[in-house]
């Protein structure tokens, strides 16, 4: 066991001595968490709104005040004709115009929204919110209950996604690069010629990254809980256990890549193209899987982070029991075993 620990120690030194990479490895989670927690949101807020009204009666005024009071809208101008409002939108000075018809007060009159529809999604949300704010539909018709995330904060959705991405990145990319680097530098030859079992070389390489990944995991969870106020509703034990399975899966993927790649550049590009792009795009991290065409949904079915992110969203945010994520966990475990076997099988004891 002694030589094993010396192996791990050596690997740890490699990591620690590369300051810049270390800085990025730990800086990235912090920055991403802060950005997603505080800066990046899909919430509707500060929509630049123009009010178009020809006469100022009591009802119209009330409606405008309701708009102005909400955090969703910022009234930037009041103009007389829809044409003026359109001009403002066209010159990128406003996003939404609310046109009150002259007989708005009479209950027969209506409201027209002129909206910058370039982003159809946001446009629809703006009009939804505006309708609600303006018309204040008869209270009590519908009892709306937003489960798990009553304030609708984007962070709830993103935190599990960041975990899925970063753990994969650190484990898979870093391990593969570190193995390929030894190949490139020629030290792998010497390691292979030693009596140490190749399996041990690999496991020893993986251990520091496992620890690193674990530290990053704890950082993310800690920040989520105390800085971003994201609830950790589910069982911590299971969150950690599933994360460890996922980390092992990522390490196996990294090992597979390192078996294929000969140079660090290829390893980097492979990780970026085979891992990073599909993860960000197809795992449901940013873009919901349900909205994709059928074919892409099939593709996303083989992307491991999808299940991890799903499981984490359910466990952390929804706080469900482990039995509700049994399917995801089973798939993850299966994938891990398959990848691990494949990676170890393809590892070459010799140079060829």
């Amino acid at each position: 066991m002694n030589d094993f620990s010396s192996f791990v120690l050596k690997e740890a030194k490699h990591i620690v001595r590369d300051r810049r990479t270390m800085l990025i490895l730990f800086g990235m989670p912090l920055v991403l968490m802060l950005l997603f927690g505080f800066a990046i949101t899909t919430d509707v807020r500060n929509v630049r709104t123009v009010v178009v009204t020809s006469q100022v009666d009591h009802l119209t005024r009330q409606a405008v005040d309701r708009l102005a009071a909400s955090t969703y809208f910022t009234i930037t101008a009041t103009v007389a004709t829809p044409a003026d409002a359109e001009l403002l939108i066209r010159s990128q000075k406003a996003d939404l115009a609310v046109v009150f018809s002259h007989d708005f007060a009479s209950r027969h009159g209506g409201v027209q929204f002129i909206v910058d529809g370039s982003d159809p999604n946001m446009a629809q949300q703006w009009t939804n919110y505006a309708t609600q704010t303006l018309l204040n539909p008869e209270v009590g018709l519908v009892d709306l209950k937003l489960l798990y995330n009553p304030q609708m904060r984007s962070a709830y959705n993103f935190v599990p996604a960041i975990m899925g991405m970063l753990l994969m990145l650190v484990c898979a990319m870093m391990t593969s690069i570190s193995i390929v680097r030894e190949k490139e530098k020629g030290t792998m030859e010497v390691l292979l010629v030693s009596p140490v079992k190749p399996l041990m070389i690999i496991v020893a390489k993986a251990v520091p990254y496992l620890v690193l990944a674990f530290a990053i995991l704890l950082t993310i969870l800690g920040m989520a809980r105390w800085v971003l106020d994201v609830p950790l509703n589910g069982s911590m034990a299971w969150i950690v256990v599933i994360s460890v399975v996922y980390i092992v899966l990522a390490l196996s993927l990294g090992l597979l890549i390192s078996n294929v790649a000969r140079t660090q550049l290829v390893a980097l590009l492979l990780s970026a193209m085979v891992l990073l792009m599909p993860i960000v795009m197809l795992s449901g991290m940013m873009f919901p899987v349900e909205s994709m065409p059928r074919v892409l949904q099939w593709v996303s079915a083989v992307i491991p982070p999808r299940y991890y992110i799903d499981a984490m969203r359910k466990l952390m945010i929804m706080g469900v029991g482990i039995e509700q994520v049994a399917r995801e966990v089973a798939i993850l475990v299966g994938m891990t075993l398959a990848l691990l076997t494949l990676a170890l099988k393809s590892f070459n004891n010799r140079l060829e």
Partner: protein, 488 residues
């Protein structure tokens, strides 16, 4: 006693290329066995097969009685291997490297100290320095210590002295000699003739086949046309160098922090001269050369190259010099002709000139058939000849050559020097560094740098007389042994 190593009709092919073709040889226990042959002869492949890194396609090999295919584990416990590139972890310290390799073999530095003591004691005081910051000679000692720390019964060394200065090379072979009483079998490859002579037996490998096995003298004699080609004659020996100086340097210093890599050197080089700039690893040769070629700013001192100030007019200097660096510096993914056109174009030659001169050059080098070959696919010796030709293609007034012939076999080196002589004949000043002392004898004048200072300067004859030594090799060894520092 059974032989330590038996290679029986081993063949190995990489795609179309037959790296080894029916190779058979035996090495006795405790023997120092040399593998020699030109670049690409199959030496490295054979060594890798012995170390179980590669499987032979045909035939079999045993090491210490164990089969390299079936009994990999036993062999890996008994072999010490030092690949061509120093396989050290550059970001770990000397001590950490050694400890790691000791642990790798399930032993400790203390347990192995008796074996590595004579070598390791020389670098022990740098125990806390990172391996990446060591000079070539010290890296080599460390790598050897790492390969020996587990007391292997067979030691395989793949060109352990490439890029290492003559003093360190001698030290390495002295150390290998001390291993003899321990009964360690040594298989080593080398391009240096003096090292070949220190083996008990050698095998000459050429194009994947064993051409002959026997005592060093026997083999060197039998293949004299390759190992000891007739010396080259300089057509115009009595050239007058009374003309102007093309390089003038006064009190040049380059300091990195407290460390003076180049410590107050002064010298002149005359037009048309071949100036040999010698020194041990880490003596400051490359740094000095970088200042002359405008890559580095001097810390203090003055100098002119081709009449331009090295401090202020370095971009003008660059128009008038050619440069060929230690690391092979043509683009491997461009063809021969494309490389020539690129560098000629950079110096502003016209397309028609380039075209005409390219054809002439390739004819002269007998390279015309390879005009459209990728440079990466050429053998090392050819690449270096080509790199030199490219560096003087634009007819610079001075060409700087930084260890141009590292790792090349004697015959190719001889051809290379013929090219240098031709260039000098055309009036190009040649400023060259080398670790081959026979090449030093070819220079008009040489200087020997030790610890950042020039310790001796003059014609080879003058230096031999001054120190009362028979050849430059001895002069160099004599001076370089006085060095106190060993770092780059």
């Amino acid at each position: 006693m059974t032989p330590s190593i038996i290679v029986d009709h081993v063949s190995k092919a990489f795609g179309e290329v037959k790296a080894l073709d029916q190779v058979s040889l035996q090495v006795q226990r405790g023997e120092v066995f040399g593998l020699i042959g030109p670049d690409g002869a199959g030496k490295t492949t054979l060594m890798r097969i012995l170390c179980t890194l590669l499987k032979p396609d045909e035939g079999s090999a045993t090491v210490d009685g164990f089969d390299t295919v079936g009994q990999m584990a036993q062999i890996r416990r008994r072999v010490g291997y030092m690949p061509g590139r120093f396989s050290l972890y550059e970001d770990l310290t000397v001590r950490e490297n050694l400890e790691f390799f000791a642990r790798l073999f399930g032993t400790t530095v203390e347990a192995g100290y008796s074996t590595i003591g004579p070598i390791y004691s020389q670098i022990e005081r740098f125990g806390n320095r990172r391996a990446g910051a060591l000079s070539g000679g010290m890296k080599q000692k460390l790598a050897l210590s790492c390969a020996l720390v587990h007391k292997p019964s067979v030691l395989v060394l793949d060109e352990p002295t490439t890029g290492v200065d003559p003093v360190s090379r001698k030290e390495l072979w002295d150390m290998l000699a001390t291993l003899k009483p321990l009964g360690i079998t040594i298989v080593a490859s080398t391009p240096y003739l003096d090292e070949v002579r220190r083996c008990q037996r050698v095998a000459f490998l050429h194009q994947g086949r064993i051409q002959g096995t026997g005592s060093p003298d026997d083999i060197l004699d039998r293949f004299a046309h390759i190992f000891n080609p007739p010396g080259i004659e300089r057509a115009d020996e009595v050239q007058q160098h009374t003309a102007d100086n093309v390089i003038e340097v006064q009190h040049l210093v380059k300091a990195f922090g407290d460390f003076h890599a180049v410590d107050d050197i002064s010298f002149n080089v005359k037009r048309g001269e071949i100036f040999g700039f010698l020194g041990a690893n880490g003596a400051g040769k490359t740094t000095a050369m970088h200042m002359l070629t405008g890559l580095n700013q001097p810390t203090s001192g003055t100098g002119t190259v081709a009449g331009y100030d090295i401090r202020t007019q370095h971009e003008l200097i660059k128009r008038h010099i050619g440069y060929m660096s230690q690391r092979f510096s043509l683009y491997g993914d461009l063809t021969v002709a494309e490389n020539i056109r690129l560098f000629a174009g950079i110096y502003g030659m016209s397309d028609s000139d380039i075209e005409r001169k390219t054809t002439a050059l390739l004819d002269q080098l007998q390279f015309a058939d390879h005009r459209n070959d990728l440079v990466a696919s050429l053998p090392l010796g050819w690449k270096q000849k080509l790199a030199f030709s490219v560096s003087i293609f634009h007819e610079p007034s001075i060409v700087f050559l930084d260890e141009p012939t590292g790792g090349v076999d004697p015959a190719t080196r001889r051809q290379f020097w013929q090219l240098i002589y031709d260039a000098a004949q055309r009036g190009i000043t040649v400023f060259v560094t080398t670790h081959y002392m026979d090449e030093a004898e070819y220079c008009d004048r040489i200087s020997i740098m030790v610890d950042g200072k020039i310790r001796a300067m003059g014609t080879p004859e003058q230096l031999k007389q001054q120190f009362h030594l028979p050849d430059i090799d001895h002069v160099f060894t004599h001076l370089a042994r006085q060095a106190n520092r060993s770092s780059d």
